[in-house]
């Protein structure tokens, strides 16, 4: 059975899209067939990391949800991002960035069964090993769907007070949704913090395993949201920690 891994955070800008893209790339680099669905319909963004030109997107997740196309026609092969190239494959199912499309989905919503079927078809037809789901921050209905469907939920937080409170709510709600595997990832952690201690503290506060503590990387800024960090800086502490995260959540 392919695994559905949802990445979520209570607040925005924690690094969901970034972490999703990197983990997916690293898995594909190891020879896996990996898909990414951008369910952040309100503010899609992950396509930017894969240098996917919006004009190339003739068919998006939105189109699938309205029955305008098959889910696999909304899947774009972005395996060229994998470095070095392996047998692995990487597909991205983007959300539409057109305001009309966005408003329409937000207004009518969509059905969880449809989404679930879509994921099933997608994983079958592209013979995926893993399907990553990038989400919109907060706990709106669509996001709750993604959590409900996931086999593994990765909740990202930054080490600051506002994130701590929201994460507590997210963790509890996800528990009630009986997600089989739940992990926390602490991101953008300043170097002065004792990372190990932070991991222990976070794990005990939320009674939830911490899959990794990612340091704040200035290089991430210079990359300016284009390109996949772990592919361009494979030896960076962030990339190495991401590798560990993969081992923890897949092993």
């Amino acid at each position: 059975m392919p695994k559905i891994i949802a990445i979520h955070s209570f607040r925005g800008g924690t690094g969901k899209s970034n972490t999703t893209a990197n983990l997916a790339c690293l898995l594909a680099q190891k020879g896996q067939r990996v898909g990414i669905v951008d369910t952040d319909i309100q503010s899609p963004g992950i396509h930017v990391l894969f240098n996917l030109d919006p004009r190339e997107i003739s068919c998006s997740l939105n189109d699938f949800l309205w029955g305008k196309c098959e889910i696999e026609s909304a899947a774009y092969d972005v395996s060229k991002m994998i470095e070095p190239q392996t047998d692995g494959k990487l597909f991205l199912i983007p959300s539409s960035i057109r305001t009309g499309d966005i408003a329409r989905v937000l207004h009518y919503g969509y059905d969880i069964n449809l989404l679930k079927e879509g994921y099933q078809k997608l994983t079958e037809r592209l013979s995926l090993d893993y399907l990553f789901i990038d989400t919109h921050p907060g706990l709106n209905e669509e996001t709750l769907m993604s959590i409900a469907i996931a086999d593994i939920l990765l909740i990202i937080l930054r080490p600051d007070q506002q994130d701590y409170q929201g994460t507590a709510v997210t963790v509890e709600v996800s528990r009630q949704l009986e997600v089989p595997g739940m992990f926390l990832i602490v991101n953008k952690v300043p170097d002065v913090f004792a990372h190990e201690e932070l991991a222990v503290k976070v794990a005990s506060t939320y009674q939830c395993e911490v899959a990794g503590v990612l340091p704040h990387a200035d290089e991430m800024m210079t990359l300016a949201s284009s390109g996949i960090f772990s592919m361009q800086y494979p030896d960076h502490a962030v990339s190495r920690e991401m590798d560990k995260i993969i081992q923890r959540i897949t092993g």
């Binding site: 969880i112 069964n113 679930k116 706990l139 209905e141 709750l144 769907m145 409900a148 469907i149 080490p159 007070q161 701590y164 409170q165 507590a168 709510v169 509890e172 709600v173 009630q176 949704l177 009986e178 089989p180 300043p190 002065v192 913090f193 004792a194 932070l198 503290k201 976070v202 506060t205």
Partner: protein, 342 residues
């Protein structure tokens, strides 16, 4: 160096033979008006053995070497036994600095102790030989022996030890080249050159007449005593000067190290930052910089300490309830269960 008793004896005797052969050789060239005293640069050897090897090894080298040397020169193996012991003492005493915790010489203080121990060793060694002579042997006739034995032995040994031992210790690495040792050795070298140049030129000037004119011989040794005295006084003075110069630097270095370690021990700078010279300025600038670093560090530390994960549990429960107690959530939960069962 930690050596076993057997090794100490072996090294002592082995180098004793070397020392003895050198003595036998140099005894062929006796000092003016001295019947058994020669200029012996090799006196540094037992001292070095004592310092680098072991004090007892130094003693054995000096002791056996003097026996061998006297034997070779036909003075008789045991006749001047008091001088054998005197040579042994000259090897033993400098080696005792290790019991003051000095194994490698890195500071002005340590270098000073080394050189003073060499002077003491010569004083005590020669003094011992003289006392033994007075008590038991009666070879010496005062005051003529003063010029014939005592002063020639003491003066040459002091100068040779003073100059050659540091050279050997630098070569073997027992003296570390630090700012402090470099400065004190440079000044010591200048001092030695100045004093010896004066003494040497006097010697040269009167050399022809030395043997024939007793009065001149006496003057020669008086000049030599004055030279050595100047050397010693100059040395002690330069220790004070160099320490005045290097102490602040050492303290600033220590303060820098304390910043590196994170203990911020800046009190050592108190006396220095008041100085009007470059070192005072350096200390002040350093204090300011360290202050800024400390401030930043404290700020960061505070941030880390503030890293207490506080969660308002009541608010959490209320927020969770607001979500999970909706009809939507209940049906979602049902559906999720079904997915997972299938």
């Amino acid at each position: 160096m930690k050596l076993s008793a057997a090794k100490i004896i072996l090294i002592g005797c082995g180098l004793g033979i070397v020392y003895g052969l050198l003595n036998g050789f140099s005894n062929a060239f006796l000092l003016p008006s001295a019947p058994i005293i020669s200029l012996r640069p090799q006196i540094a050897l037992p001292m070095i053995v004592g310092i680098i090897g072991h004090p007892l090894a130094g003693f054995i080298t000096g002791f056996t070497g003097n026996i061998i040397g006297d034997g070779i020169s036909g003075f008789g193996f045991w006749k001047f036994w008091n001088w054998h012991i005197a040579n042994g003492l000259m090897g033993l005493i400098p080696g005792l600095i290790r019991y003051r915790g000095i194994t490698r010489i890195a500071t002005v203080r340590e270098f000073g102790i080394l050189q003073v121990s060499i002077i003491l060793a010569c004083g005590i060694g020669v003094g011992f030989a003289v006392v033994m002579d007075v008590l038991f042997l009666h070879f010496m006739i005062f005051p003529s022996s003063l010029h014939a034995w005592i002063l020639p032995a003491f003066l040459t040994d002091v100068v040779n030890g003073f100059v050659l031992v540091p050279v050997a210790l630098v070569l073997t690495g027992a003296i570390l080249i630090t700012l402090e040792t470099r400065t004190i050795m440079m000044i010591t070298a200048l001092l030695i050159i100045a004093v010896l140049a004066t003494a040497g030129s006097i010697t040269w000037a009167v050399l022809d007449d030395l043997v024939s004119h007793q009065a001149m011989v006496r003057n020669f040794y008086i000049a030599a005593i004055v030279s050595v005295l100047l050397l010693v006084i100059g040395f002690l003075a330069s220790i004070v000067f160099v320490r005045k110069m290097t102490d602040p630097l050492t303290k600033i270095t220590r303060a820098a190290e304390s910043v590196e370690k994170g203990s911020y021990d800046l009190e050592t700078l108190d006396g220095i930052s008041g100085r009007n010279d470059e070192l005072g300025r350096l200390a002040r600038v350093f204090e300011q910089m360290a202050g800024k670093v400390l401030e930043r560090e404290k700020k960061l530390q505070k941030q880390v300490e503030e890293l207490q994960i506080k969660i308002d549990r009541e608010k959490q429960i209320a927020d969770v309830a607001e979500i999970v107690e909706t009809e939507y959530f209940r049906s979602l939960k049902e559906k999720a269960r079904k997915f997972r069962a299938s």
